[in-house]
């Protein structure tokens, strides 16, 4: 009998996958929950708006962020070499990982070298992408996620559903239940203050006892070889300042040229993410503290491939603020878990197909192409345009389900022949009027949540000809 966690890894790696539409159907069964999820995310968006409207130069800041990142993409080689040189000179060990597996192995070897089997980790979506926790668990290493939201989903055996707010899909009662089970808090407790206090005590012990701490990297600075880690909770700092080893995992696209560019990005990041002017801590690391070892793992895992795609490379500008998730009507009403990737929402849907086209062919279609994502992106990634372009790539590569392909092809033949179009329309109007059950049934997906429109008496063409003659 396979243990639960092993089964999870197999399922994650297999091609058994529930596509976004099917997963969303499941999510939408609980309408009240969907409404709540929708309102909660929109509330975060509105906090972002409030913060942004106070900065009169916001659009110029976005342009600056965008251009700096454009430059970074075009100078990636030099910047990374410079960064490695400076970091190494400062006493940091720099590793390079071609893929997720190599990243995980590097982290494991560092832990093993310390002679320990436990680690505390602050938020890193990169490590989610690499499935680090599962890998380490299999090797007998316990990983504790110290970000409160991540700790909650970790206890529940779930993946985070949002880049910045990992437990946004959970209500306080869910958290209360989980903490009662894992931390021994009072049954039925829902007060966030009480629950957070319990987590604080539990995680404080973790911080004080772990010798190895892993963080992500928000920004890596080529000019100085340093990097910045932003948190509200202080969990990244609590972990690393008390640990003998600090491992920082970064996708190589996190590099920026100079320290002064942080002025732009630290003004954009928290406002876009949660509407705060800045996170509580913006910690700048340059050297390990005395007696400590610091490692940076620079990861590719498909990023070089994306860098080579002219239409999609700008997705690598992302600073992981999740503003696009908060505004996306589809994300708000389908939830992060419907996207079956580490990063959900609009940005996830243009990053994931690069990693695995077959597995993620459904994601660019999980969109109405409304463009709200592009509108809020602090670094001006043309997300909605890339969603559209991915669709074309996926169709050309044959990753679109046959039903859709056949449907679009028949639409194309109807629409490209005027006489066929007229006949089809006439027949359609006749059937809808005389045999309405043909369309008014649950096999017609459109009818499931909508009424069919009233049947017009005549087509526009018939009306026009009649009127013109008169």
């Amino acid at each position: 009998m396979l243990p639960d966690w092993k089964l999870k890894i197999i399922l994650k790696m297999s091609s058994i996958k529930i596509d976004h539409a099917t997963a969303s159907l499941k999510f939408n069964k609980d309408e009240a929950h969907v409404d709540w999820h929708d309102e909660t995310l929109w509330f975060v968006r509105s906090k972002r708006d409030k913060a942004v409207f106070q900065i009169s130069e916001w659009e110029q800041l976005r342009e600056a962020g965008s251009q700096i990142k454009n430059h970074v993409l075009s100078n990636m080689y030099n910047l990374l070499v410079e960064f490695e040189e400076k970091a190494t000179a400062n006493g940091i060990t720099v590793h390079w990982a071609a893929d997720a597996k190599e990243h995980n192995e590097i982290v494991y070897s560092i832990i093993k070298n310390e002679g320990v089997n436990r680690m505390v980790k602050s938020k890193s979506m990169l490590t989610e992408e690499c499935h680090l926790n599962d890998f380490l668990k299999e090797k007998g290493v316990e990983v504790i996620d110290s970000d409160l939201g991540e700790r909650i989903v970790q206890m529940r055996g779930e993946a985070p559903s949002h880049i910045v707010l990992p437990a946004i899909h959970l209500k306080k009662s869910d958290v209360g239940e989980t903490f009662h089970k894992h931390l021994g808090t009072k049954k039925g407790a829902t007060d966030p203050q009480y629950l957070t206090e319990a987590a604080r005590q539990h995680l404080r012990d973790t911080f004080l006892t772990r010798k190895v701490a892993l963080t992500g990297v928000n920004f890596a600075i080529a000019e100085t070889g340093g990097f910045v880690v932003c948190t509200n909770e202080g969990n990244a700092d609590m972990g690393v300042h008390l640990a003998d080893v600090h491992i920082a995992s970064m996708g190589f696209e996190k590099i920026i040229p100079m320290v002064e560019h942080l002025g732009v990005f630290l003004r954009l990041l928290a406002r876009s993410a949660t509407g705060q002017p800045i996170t509580t801590f913006s910690s700048h690391f340059h050297k390990p503290r005395a007696g400590q070892k610091m490692h940076i793992v620079i990861v590719d895992n498909g990023r070089t491939k994306q860098l080579g795609r002219p239409d999609f490379r700008s997705s690598l500008k992302c600073i992981r603020c999740a503003a696009c998730l908060n505004t996306c009507p589809v994300y708000r009403r389908s939830g992060g878990h419907s996207y079956h990737t580490a990063i959900a929402g609009p940005i996830g849907s243009i990053l994931a197909p690069n990693l695995d086209m077959a597995q993620n062919a459904d994601l660019p279609f999980a969109s109405t192409l409304c463009g709200s994502c592009s509108n809020v992106c602090p670094v001006k990634i043309d997300i909605h345009e890339q969603l559209y372009k991915w669709r074309q790539v996926l169709v050309q590569e044959g990753h679109v389900p046959t039903v859709k392909k056949v449907g679009i092809q028949s639409m194309a033949s109807v629409l490209s022949s005027p006489s066929f179009y007229r006949t089809a329309g006439k027949l359609g109007r006749f059937l809808m009027k005389n045999t309405p059950f043909i369309t008014n049934n649950n096999l017609n997906i459109w009818y499931q949540q909508r009424d069919m429109p009233d049947v017009p008496k005549e087509s526009f063409r018939e009306w026009y000809i009649r009127e013109k003659v008169n």
């Binding site: 130069e57 100078n75 966030p192 909770e233 202080g234 300042h241 002017p277 800045i278 509580t280």
Partner: protein, 202 residues
């Protein structure tokens, strides 16, 4: 470079060579990326934002005033430490420890901030002022002393002012630690300090 050659390279070489091949044409960076923020009163803006993010600011004229305020605010509190010699009589806890773990029982720490940023109430604190990196986070309550003349308008000015790699570690601290991870309800005091008091000296 063919695939066979690639296979014999280290990951570093593989990644960097692929980046060199795949990166777009060089694009010069000449966008305007520094902006002015105009505030009528820097202290008031700083205090307003600090309050918004869950902290509190107090204008003071002397260290005596700070001492008096702390004696009232943190009456009965023990395990107090400070890096500021003028406030040493408040301290009953020595920071002269070898291991940062020994700071675990600290209830209140009063430290010096280098300078502050009005637009987001961030205060730069670095190893220049910290005997231990963990000090501002491990304590239950934190108080920072800054000078009014050391408040700049925004982050662009901040980075003009500070040399971040002068020491191995520095951080901008804006308000007490917090989280809204439980159903978007804001809770002040996550893993770092539960409260932040900032004394702004003339």
């Amino acid at each position: 470079m063919n695939n066979h050659q690639r296979n014999n390279m280290s990951s570093r070489e593989k990644i960097l060579s692929q980046i060199k091949t795949n990166q777009p044409d060089y694009q010069e960076l000449n966008v305007k990326f520094k902006f002015e923020s105009l505030y009528e009163n820097l202290y008031e803006k700083f205090a307003e934002i600090l309050s918004f993010v869950g902290g509190k600011a107090l204008q003071v004229n002397s260290y005596e005033e700070i001492k008096a305020n702390i004696r009232v605010l943190y009456q009965g509190v023990t395990n107090i430490a400070t890096t500021i010699p003028e406030l040493s009589e408040l301290a009953d806890f020595s920071l002269n420890v070898a291991d940062p773990h020994d700071l675990e029982m600290l209830n209140l720490v009063i430290i010096e901030g280098d300078f502050a940023v009005a637009e987001n109430a961030a205060i730069w604190v670095s190893e220049k002022h910290l005997p231990h990196r963990a000090l501002p986070m491990i304590t239950q309550y934190l108080a920072i002393v800054i000078h009014k003349s050391d408040i700049v308008t925004n982050m662009h000015r901040a980075y003009e002012r500070v040399k971040v790699d002068e020491t191995g570690f520095g951080t901008f601290i804006s308000g007490p630690s917090k989280t809204a991870d439980i159903e978007q309800s804001l809770v002040i005091g996550a893993h770092g300090a539960r409260g932040l008091m900032v004394y702004v000296m003339d």
